[in-house]
Symmetry: C2
Subunit: 343 residues, 2 copies
């Protein structure tokens, strides 16, 4: 399998992208094509022993910067994102991965790879990490102002994906809202609610913020603005709680006294904290986006994975893994069927 | 000071409301007027020794149910919410507190107490509990589809409130968005951004979900839909993390083996968990809405506090405390000045 990787995408590109690519070809049994400014890419590659590894470079003259307006996609025909997307379109790769400007990746995917017939807007699907059972949250930022019809398609795509990915028949679908009752919600949610009821999906109604963490649904649909705020708030809360806990454990009055006097009180406290460390580490790992690597863009006619802009090498490697797994899953066919089967 | 309390509001009314009222009159040096169906209220009051306490009852024939449509406000002129609001309007009380249907409380506040001149929409302000420094989040559910102009007023009211409440000059104001860059956001946020820049407020730009927990601003503005999702997601995450931590500490493989064999390994584990308990309790307390009790409805011409529908007696008591403190703060004048001073 050959994964096309945007060498210029992300806050720490091309360095960490190439580090991640080197890890990925070693561990994941994939071939990787790095797309970007060849001289820069080769300079970074020189830090790795790449002999015998399935790593190649395709030159792309331009770069769409992280904070650049999405219009740049039209103008910069030779940007790494666009060159990579065209390679995917032309079958020179099985998937495309980028940690670059996510608006630009989405625009280029629509323009160069095209949407699946019948899909109005692609959407980003992420595994929501802080729930008692697996929850797929869709959309996570691709569409800040979707229509009710868009949201119904997101639900269909999400349900089809989860059915195949987790082997759940007829997965439960909920929509994020500000109350449980059917008449709660902003205008968008209230208009979408009856459409979801008539969609043939296993629609279980509104999910409040707290319900999402309880796993009341397998697929949770929302607009990309709210979805993005939810994911990033959860990231923020995970580190907030970890800090609070450390402060409580290490900074409590008792411990301060124990530390000041170096008395045996310390002996009581330290095992508590030492035992906490692996627990905190497992929780942090669960919440760490680098473990997930990226989110597949559902609804385009090829496997496109968008990684976090702040990706480190591990996140890049895991985004490549997600691309590989999505190809193996037959993602594009799954999405085609999810919409065809329901409409 | 005399606080008017909706005896029929909340999932556990009138029982817990009256329990909370009895606690409040004992602890808070306020007089309380309970508004609701007199027979029911007096039956609950009989469980308490109220002699010498400043507790009285005003009869209200109707009740607006928790899941009832907001239209009921027009129809039910004698609902406890409406009777209480008219008492506030007529100076028979200094503040009104309800854990009832929040849409109905807001509609009745606008109808019976009236908005402050110049204010288009009142908004709910809550202290966001999971941040390193105090953060006022506004709006928390009163307006699911506000306009950009509404959001600017929310920011002005929030800034004025925080200035007086926390003694912060020129507080930092941010707007919740899906990215830091000024062009990020849904349509509403992108349209509000330049208005906030020109508002004379100390506007620091977009706040992503994770930024809110870091305390990058004193006042964080958002629409009531997103605000409500954020607050309830944070509640859900707090209990999710607590469960995860307990499971990690008590349910790890090591501990299971220790428990099964009753070996001294247990001795290593138990102190860890025992030391955790007060830390977890302090964190839970910090996240518990019952500690805050309620949210003041900013922008109406009287002190109105909306408590959580799931309020227990302690939450009711703390909502009364918030009402008392808001009266002492001169809340209505503060809000009048915040808008007058800026427009």
């Amino acid at each position: 399998m050959r994964i096309v990787l945007d060498a210029m995408g992300g806050d720490h590109a091309p360095g960490v992208v190439i580090d991640g690519a080197a890890q990925a070809v070693r561990e994941l049994e994939v071939e990787i094509v790095l797309v970007g400014r060849e001289a820069e890419v080769r300079r970074e590659l020189a830090h790795h022993d790449t002999t015998g590894l399935g790593l190649s470079v395709v030159h792309a003259d331009e770069v769409i910067e992280m904070d650049e307006h999405v219009d740049a996609v039209k103008r910069k025909k030779d940007a790494s994102i666009r060159v990579g997307m065209r390679m995917l379109r032309e079958g020179q790769g099985d998937a495309f991965v980028s940690a670059g400007n996510s608006g630009a990746v989405m625009a280029s995917a629509i323009f160069d790879v095209r949407r699946i017939r019948g899909i109005k807007r692609p959407a980003l699907a992420v595994l929501y990490p802080a729930a008692l059972t697996p929850v797929l949250l869709i959309d996570n930022g691709a569409n800040t102002d979707p229509t009710p019809e868009n949201l119904v398609q997101f639900a269909q795509m999400g349900a089809g994906y989860v059915e195949r990915l987790w082997g759940i028949d007829n997965p439960r679908v909920a929509i994020v809202s500000n109350g449980e009752e059917p008449d709660k919600g902003n205008r968008l949610v209230r208009e979408t609610f009856p459409l979801l009821q008539d969609s043939g999906l296993n629609f279980v109604g509104n999910a409040e913020g707290k319900d999402v963490t309880k796993g009341i649904a397998d697929v949770v649909v929302t607009d990309g603005f709210t979805g993005n705020v939810m994911i990033k708030l959860s990231e923020g809360l995970a580190s907030f709680f970890a800090r609070l806990l450390k402060r409580e454990l290490l900074g409590g009055t008792l411990n301060k006294v124990a530390l000041a006097l170096m008395v045996p009180g310390l002996i009581l406290t330290l095992p508590g904290f030492v035992l906490m460390i692996p627990a905190l580490r497992r929780i942090a790992k669960r919440m760490d986006y680098a473990e997930y690597g990226g989110a597949p863009l559902l609804g385009v006619d090829g496997v496109v994975v968008i990684a976090h802009g702040r990706s480190n090498a591990k996140a890049i490697k895991n985004a490549v893994r997600m691309a590989r797994d999505s190809v193996n899953l037959g993602l594009v066919d799954v999405i085609k069927q999810s919409v065809r089967g329901r409409t």
